[in-house]
Symmetry: C2
Subunit: 339 residues, 2 copies
């Protein structure tokens, strides 16, 4: 038997398992949810079916993106926010995203230990996502895990990233509310990032506010917010000071999150914003599905492998080969199922 056939057979065997996992997940079984998250993380073959099945059950939960440079105290702040959500009996999911590392572990896990006091709480589900297995599609994977959490019945999902690169900004941007956490020392980061940050921040936090320069940083941010206010949105981005490790300023942050949530609910822009996100997701899913289909060709299709061998030649011209691919009816047939 060919390896490809074996794989196809193995997938068929797995298929019923996914639908049973899905049923168990929808009755609130956390272990089933964990297994489905792993499937999404590994971009398993049944993920499209899975996502199609759960999609109608999504759209209910509130999502919060938290980003900022390493060491800004994001995990500590998230920990305090979880406590407040739990005090109101909300079921909380946390997706800890680390685009920088191919492994979800090591330093990051150490960092996330601050949240671990919630790990034994039945109402909290924490999951790390690295680039491993996601083929760079970390934005896709994060969106899909968010939808799994949503379908599971989480009231709130917090998406936390470790950096402030463009990848991180794109990832947290799928959340309803985006919190940008900085520290007085982040001056340079703000400088480099300001265009991207201004676009995504719904709330700015200057954490570790006992340090020198906190007020200066806060007033600088306020200035930026005002400069950026072009009247396109009715939401005025607040700039708050906090010392999350002392639990200071966290109530004010929590209040502003609720304000922003209310704002979204009472402004028509919410529907428009979600429609825009859904449209972007659709284009992403289309592209991703195409790439997956080509990857299958690369493994299984003899003729496509001849193309790849050609590409590997020292004098190969990948642009010419790409053109040939898109003029090849047989590949069209293989990529588009019914042709």
């Amino acid at each position: 038997m060919q390896d490809a056939d074996k794989e196809a057979l193995a997938n068929q065997r797995k298929e019923p398992e996914y639908s049973s996992l899905l049923k168990r997940m929808l009755t609130g079984e956390k272990l089933a949810l964990a297994k489905l998250v792993t499937a999404v993380e590994n971009d398993a073959p049944s993920v499209p079916e899975l996502m199609e099945a759960i999609y109608p059950k999504t759209g209910r939960c509130y999502s919060l993106g938290v980003t900022g440079p390493p060491g800004a105290g994001k995990s500590t702040l998230v920990d305090k926010l979880i406590a407040r959500l739990r005090a109101q009996d909300k079921i909380v999911g946390v997706i800890a995203v680390d685009p920088s590392s191919p492994f979800s572990g090591g330093a990051v896990l150490g960092d996330r230990i601050r949240m671990q006091r919630h790990a034994l709480d039945e109402g909290v589900f924490i999951r790390s996502l690295g680039t491993r297995g996601t083929g760079g599609g970390l934005s896709r994977a994060t969106g899909e895990v968010l939808r799994l959490f949503d379908a599971f019945g989480m009231d709130a999902v917090i998406i936390e990233t470790v950096g402030v690169g463009q990848t991180e900004l794109d990832i947290v941007d799928i959340a309803d509310t985006t919190l940008v956490v900085l520290v007085p020392e982040s001056g340079d980061t703000v400088q480099t990032m300001k265009a991207g940050l201004m676009e995504i921040a719904d709330v700015f936090i200057v954490n570790k506010a006992d340090r020198e320069g906190a007020d200066k940083m806060a007033s600088g941010l306020k200035g930026m917010v005002e400069l950026n206010d072009c009247g396109a949105s009715d939401w005025k981005v607040p700039v708050l000071l906090s010392q999350a490790n002392q639990d200071q300023g966290v109530d004010e942050i929590y209040e502003e999150l609720n304000n922003h949530r209310d704002h979204l609910a009472t402004h028509t822009s919410k529907g428009e914003r979600r429609a825009k996100i859904r449209r972007r997701q659709f284009m992403e899913i289309l592209g991703h599905r195409f790439v997956k289909k080509v990857e299958v060709l690369a493994r299984e299709d003899e003729r496509f492998r001849t193309y790849l061998k050609e590409v590997e030649q020292e004098d190969a011209n990948p642009y010419r080969i790409t053109k040939a691919f898109f003029q090849d009816e047989e590949f069209a047939r293989k990529i588009f199922d019914s042709v």
Copy 2:
């Protein structure tokens, strides 16, 4: 006339201009090169043709990737390396990549001013690339600008990024040699990034070596390098100390770059490595071309626009709609030219 028709007509009109620019570029005209770089940056419709045409003229230049956290002194070091390359009459190109900012300007430009003393030198060509217009395909755009520089006749091209996120690592990884520049304070960054950094670094630099902790950082890196040495490569990654602003340690860095270049030339792995890169590029180009074709559908195709409207509905299921797309013979015909 429809907007789409107007656009198509405008592109037709532009087409001969590109081939004339290409001719002028190949005779060494910098202004023509600059215009072609802009075309690549904007992902203009004629870019695939352009890249196909120049591809046979590429593969001669040496490329150097330089990455590291903001403030590590990368631009200063690059400036000193340019001076050494120029002393040997090499024609040098610099691609300054800023994935974090949608604009190439502001803080970054300020930073790059350190390189500007070379801006009046006929043998140096400096170009910034931001995410603007590249549709997130900054890795594609960087590779294409590198190939333009290569075809133009540059002897060496330096690709410099501002951060050390996964995007940055992917971008500099297309270079022949990758230099990772750190400072004694980068401890945390190293911690978070070590997996990704170890994979791409051919040479480690601890810059600003007069600061406290430089030796500790260097010996930590040396330890990491040894731990990571699994015998897969004959190249032993050197860890060097420098004070680029004092021009100290730069000769040693330059020597190691030449050593690595010689190493690549005398080891068969170079061909394999390039073949692997070319294969990755091919898969990227395929995916990118597909996305571009879908974007054209989104603008011009009535039926595809109906799909998009459906996706924007509150209860839409983008996964189901994606499935329908890939079962639609008419879209296959539109994506694959000859079907």
